[in-house]
Each structure stands twice: as C-alpha cells, then as structure tokens.
C-alpha cells in the first residue's frame, strides 16, 4: 500500500466540497439508473465515499488509512473492507458515547463542536436524508456493491445524529407527575427499544429484561440502572466506574422511591403491595424448587457442600457405638483376663446335625448271577411281608455277617499267639473244604507259631509208590508205557459214558 501524505486544510475543504457534490448527485439519481453500470455513477460514488471517509477520519485515530483509496483499480470488496476497518471501532465508540449521554443528559449541552463546517453541513442535510434513507435501504439488495458502503455509513451517521438530537430535546420534554430529573418515560421507551435491538445484535441472554411493560412505574427507573449494570456485566467488557461507585446513587434512588410512596393514595399503595406479593408468589411457584424440596437429589444435582448446611434428619437403624473411655477399656481387659484364667471361651460349636429320618439303606447293584432261584427270591419276599419280625436279611446284613466271621477267625489266631492257656472256641460246622490241616491242630496247647502240629508229615503231603522220576528222566520205554496206560483208562471211561444216556432214555419212555 502506497503512503499518503496527510492533506492540508484547504485541500481537505476542496475534497469535502467535491465530495458533497458527488453525494448529492448520487442521491439524486433514480433507483432505475443503478441497474445499468455507468462509469459516471461509479466515479461519483467513489468521490462521495472518499469524502465521507475523510470526514470521519479525525474520529478514528487508530485507523491505518489516511484516505480512502478509491482509484479505478480498486475492487468494490477492497473499498468496502477499508470502510469496514474504519467504521467498526467508530461504531463501538459512538455507542459508548450514546450510552453515556443517555445516563447524563446534561453533558450533551457541553458537547464541543469539533469541526463546525462538517457539523453544519451534516445538520442541514439531516431532514433531507430521513426520507431518502428508507429508499436507499430498500435498494440495497438490488444494487451493485458500490452503493452499499455508502448507505451503511449514512445510516450510522443518521443514528448518531438522531440520538444526539433527541437527547438534546430530553430536557425540554413535558413533565409528568412521575418524571423527574432522572426519569423520562419517552427516554425509557427508546432505551428499551435500543436495548432490545442490541440484544439481538449481541446475542446475549437477557430475556428477563423484556417484561418492561408489566413493571411498576416505581421500579422502572431502578431497573433502568440495574439493566445498565447487568448489561455491562453480561457483555463482559470490564469493570466500570458505575459498577463500583454507581451503587451509591442506587441507595439514594431507593430513598427517593420511599418518599415517593407518600404521594400515592392508600388504594394505590395497597394495590402495589398486592401486586408485589403476587409477583413474589408467582415467581416462587414458577421457579424450580430448591434442591431440598425436590424429591431424590443426587450429589450432582445440588451445589457442592450444600448437604452440610442443611439440617438433615434421618433414622439411624444402628445403635451408636459406645464411646470408648479408659474405664471401658479397663473393664474389657479385666473380663478378658478373667476368662483366660477360667478357660471359659464362648467358642461357637457346631450344632449336631440330626438325621431327619433313618438313613435308607442303599441296595448295591449285585452284578453276579443270583445263586438263588426266582422262586426263592419271591419266597423270601413273601415271608418278609407276612412276618415283619423275621428281619430282612439285606445285603448289608450279609456283609456284616461275613465281616463277623472273618474277625472271629482273626481273633482266634491272635489269641493263640498271645497266651499259652489258650482255649479254642467251639467249632462251628462249616461245609468248607480244608486242605493240609491235620486233625491235631485244634487241640494243641502250645502256641500255634511254635508247634509243628500244622505242618504235615511228608507222607501226608505226598504218598506215592515206587520210583518217582521226573519228566526229563523218563526213558522212551517208560514214556510209551505211560501213554498206553492213559489210553486204556480213557477207553473205559468213554464206554461208561456211552452206556449211560441210552439207558436213561429208555427208562423215561417206558415210564410214560
């Protein structure tokens, strides 16, 4: 960007004059003429913009541009950006000024006229611009980019001028009974509109402030102050003098309101009181209840450490633990010592499990072929049914019997081992095969281990005649003899076998 030297006063005036001419021509053109692009119109527009820009330049010390660069090379977008850079801080500063004037209307009178010529020029054009502003606004969307910046600047200036004018008129307005130096109904109305507009611009949540219609006339002024303060807080644009020191005025305002009360009739006062009460009640109803009044509240739903502040009352199902004092510990220790001496511990003993019913004897699966026939089985069952006393000889009893027998034998042997004066038990006749036990064994007094009675004489072990030879010692002749004997014996038995069945069959047939 090329540097511009700051123009001299004269040059500036010249530029201003040219600019105002251009502005007039721009305004004079009919809306339809804007449809077709013409270089004349664009030149005029550029000149007008440039003049406006320069006129506003003194108010924007921080702007990077000294002049608006509107040569032919510059695009609409570029021109707009330059204007935008200048106007943004300007708008915010203007807003601040307006607010300040709203709060302190007297200051308007002390307003210094910075550049007389410009002011006058602008003021003369004030009324003309009012009607045309609306036309130009409607053309905005249809036209090219050239005009838009022009009109935006106009609007901003219009607003500023209008508000300045109106604020000057504030002091001259008619007074109602309620109005005093601080309060003006009209100003209130306008203020409310602007705040609403600003709310939508800033997108700040101040919905509570919009019920201005329903408020009491008493409280409106107070709320004005509150609104201002809360607005500022909401924007977050830093602490202000009013924040800290403004409150003093609040208190004075309050006093004035209370004095103000006496001017109202009793009926009105009562009405106001009722309204206040209704308001209060409605508010409590509509607001969400405090967390203590809500049902079940988790820790997340209530503010931190709030349960400590509230006096909670709930049932303790547990007896509180007894406070431990020295006496208590001494008593316990004494008891412990006594118990140890007495060996009297309260050990938990397992309760003996009583069998609910006699254990049912489980019949074991006998996988052997039953020695008794079916008839005997049923016979046994029948006898059991008829005589319950006969006592079922179950498998368990049989096993017991068997075990008893074995034990008796064992005891006999042990008794024989243990003493010399041994009297043998009476013999129970048992059809069991005994082998190699001589008859003398039972009557021998000497202990069994010592005596030779159990030992059989060699003749008893084997009684054979003649020369006994082993298999390997036999000669061939002897082997043949042996085989011949065998064959002879076999023949005899075979014959006997052959004879028998034939004879028996005959008998059977004859018997029938």
């Amino acid at each position: 960007m090329h540097q511009n030297t700051t123009p001299t006063q004269l040059e500036r005036r010249g530029i201003m004059a040219a600019g105002s001419e251009a502005l007039n021509t721009v305004k004079a053109t009919e809306p339809t003429q804007w449809l077709a692009p013409s270089p004349e119109l664009s030149e005029n527009a550029r000149a007008a913009l440039k003049s406006l820009f320069s006129s506003l330049r003194p108010f924007t010390p921080k702007s990077p541009f000294n002049e608006l660069l509107v040569e032919e090379d510059f695009d609409a977008e570029q021109i707009w950006q330059q204007i935008d850079i200048q106007s943004q801080p300007l708008i915010s500063s203007l807003r601040r000024e307006v607010k300040r004037y709203e709060k302190n209307p007297e200051e308007i009178k002390t307003l210094k006229v910075v550049v007389e010529g410009e002011e006058k020029v602008l003021e003369s054009q004030n009324e003309e611009k009012d009607s045309e502003d609306f036309d130009e606004e409607s053309d905005d969307e249809e036209e090219g980019d050239d005009v838009e910046e022009n009109e935006d600047d106009d609007e901003d200036e219009e607003e500023e001028e209008e508000e300045n004018v109106e604020e000057e008129e504030e002091g001259d307005g008619e007074k109602n009974e309620i109005e005093d130096g601080f309060f003006n109904v009209k100003a209130l109305g306008k203020y409310l509109k602007t705040t609403e507009a600003e709310e939508y611009e800033n997108e700040s949540e101040e919905g509570a402030d919009e019920d201005g219609d329903e408020k009491d006339e008493e409280d409106e002024a107070q709320e004005l102050m509150n609104l201002d303060e809360s607005e500022d807080d909401g924007d977050g644009k830093g602490a202000r003098y009013e924040d800290f020191f403004g409150k003093k005025e609040l208190s004075t305002h309050k006093k004035e309101i209370s004095i103000h009360d006496k001017d109202l009739s009793t009926h009105e006062r009562e009405q106001l009181k009722l309204k206040a009460e209704i308001e209060q009640r409605e508010k409590t109803m509509l607001d969400p209840k405090t967390w203590t009044m809500q049902g079940e509240v988790t820790a997340a739903k209530r503010p931190p450490n709030s349960a400590l502040e509230v006096d909670l009352d709930f049932e303790h199902n547990v007896r509180p633990a007894p406070p431990i004092t020295e006496e208590v510990t001494l008593a316990i220790e004494d008891m412990i010592r006594k118990r140890i001496e007495q060996d009297l511990f309260d050990d938990v003993q397992r309760a003996p499990a009583l069998p609910t019913k006699a254990p049912r004897e489980r019949k074991e699966m006998d996988e052997n072929k039953s020695k008794k026939g079916l008839a005997e089985d049923y016979e046994r069952e029948y006898v059991q049914k008829m005589n319950p006393d006969s006592g079922p000889l179950s498998s368990k009893d049989e096993q017991k019997h068997e075990a008893e027998m074995l034990f008796r034998k064992l005891c006999l042997k042990l008794d024989a081992l243990s003493h010399f004066h041994f009297t043998p038990k009476p013999v129970i006749e048992d059809m069991s095969i005994q082998d190699n036990v001589p008859a003398l064994a039972m009557e021998e007094i000497a202990p069994v281990a010592v005596s030779d009675a159990a030992m059989l004489a060699p003749e008893e072990v084997f009684s054979g005649k003649g020369d006994i030879k082993e298999e390997a010692e036999l000669t061939q002749a002897e082997r043949k003899r042996r085989r011949a004997n065998k064959k002879r014996k076999f023949k005899v038995t075979a014959k006997k076998m052959a004879k028998k069945p034939r004879d028996s069959n005959k008998d059977i047939i004859e018997a029938m």
Partner: protein, 224 residues
C-alpha cells in the same frame, strides 16, 4: 321255640317240620361238589402240547427228570415227550385237583423252552402271579448290522453283568436270545425290567440305567 340251625354237612337235608316252611312242595336244593379237571368238558381229557426248539433239545434231555418230577408228582399232570414230533405233551389225570395246574405246567415247560433255568421256571409252578413277557429288539428300535450287535452287547454287559444287575434289582429273570428278549417275573417287576432294557436298547449307558433302577426299586420296596 324253633331255632334255625345251619346245616352241618353239605348233604341234602329235608325239612322235617311242616310248620317252618310256608311252601313245602318245593324239592330240597341240591348241592354239588366242584368239578374236577378231568370231568370238565364232559369228562374228556385236557391236552397241552409244547414244541421243542432244536437248541433246547439237549438241555431238555439233561434236565428231563427235574421237569418231570414236579409236574407228575406235585401238579398231578401226565407229561411225555413226543420224539418224532419234537413236542412235550401234557394231559390231565383223574386226580388233577385244579384245571389251572395244566396251564401252569404248560407255562413252566414253555418257559424252559424259551431258555429259562429250571430253578427259575419252577417259580411259575409255585407262584400264581408270575408271567413271561417276550419282545424283540426291533419292536423298540430298528437297528441293523453292527448297531444291533452293539445293542445286544449293551443289554448283556461284560460277562452278563448288566443283565444280572437288572435281574437282581427287579427280581426277574431275563433271557436274551439273539434279538428276542424274554422276561419272567411279576407284573410290576417285568415293567421295570422292560423299561431298563428298552433304555439300554435305545442307547443309554449302563450307569444311567443303574441309577434309575436303583431309584425305582427303592420306591417299589418302600411301598410294601
């Protein structure tokens, strides 16, 4: 005073007093003794014939006297073997006390022919309520080839253990003849044994059958 005395003997007694009977014209009621088996069907002899399968021929020869003695002496039924026709023939005698004896003997011989032992079959003579039930494996489930062989093996168990276990538990006797199964015992016991055998045929392992058997027999035993 007149006292009505019950007649002491079965003989016909004519009512002496005419005052006791309102209608004295009716003849006295006859009383008969029960018919003997021999006299039934107009004195004709009752026959039963039981055919002998070839595989039971030799065992029959060996155990003939054991069959003959109780039938002839205790049941009083004539019995003979028809060698040509391979049949055992039974006939009532004059002094056969009851007609049911003939049937019992026939059942006894039939049981022996099916394959039961003499000592087990004798129970049929002694007890009334014993029956023989026969069924085939294919009645339960159609099995072929190896499956059939395996089923038969399952029924008997190793060395006949399973069969004996069922026999002992249910107080029955079981004969497994290839695909035919015969059960000898009382009605309820037959049912239990049959259920166990059917389960074995259908494929359940022996241990499962044992456990069921144990439960059922315990219940049966408790009932009495």
């Amino acid at each position: 005073m007149q006292s009505n005395e019950a007649p002491s003997s079965m003989e016909v007694k004519a009512v002496a007093n005419g005052a006791g009977s309102a209608s004295g014209t009716l003849p006295p009621k006859p009383s008969f003794e029960p018919l003997k088996a021999h006299e039934m069907s107009d004195g004709q002899v009752q026959f039963r014939k039981v055919s002998v399968p070839p595989h039971r021929y030799t065992p029959l020869k060996k155990a003939w006297m054991q069959i003959y003695t109780p039938i002839y002496e205790q049941m009083k039924i004539d019995i003979r073997m028809n060698l040509k026709g391979r049949k055992v023939e039974l006939k009532t005698r004059r002094d056969t006390p009851d007609i049911s004896h003939l049937q019992k003997c026939a059942d006894f011989v039939q049981a022996f022919m099916l394959g039961f032992d003499i000592i087990d079959a004798i129970a049929l003579l002694r007890l009334d309520e014993l029956y023989v039930e026969s069924f085939e494996i294919k009645d339960v489930k159609t099995l072929r080839g190896e499956h059939l062989s395996r089923a038969i093996g399952r029924l008997s168990g190793k060395g006949g253990r399973t069969k004996f276990a069922i026999e002992n538990a249910t107080k029955t006797r079981i004969v497994i003849a290839d695909t035919k199964i015969h059960i000898l015992g009382s009605f309820a016991n037959i049912k239990v044994a049959r259920d166990s055998l059917c389960n074995l045929i259908l494929g359940s392992p022996a241990a499962k059958v044992y456990s069921k058997l144990r439960a059922v027999t315990a219940r049966l035993a408790e009932r009495f």
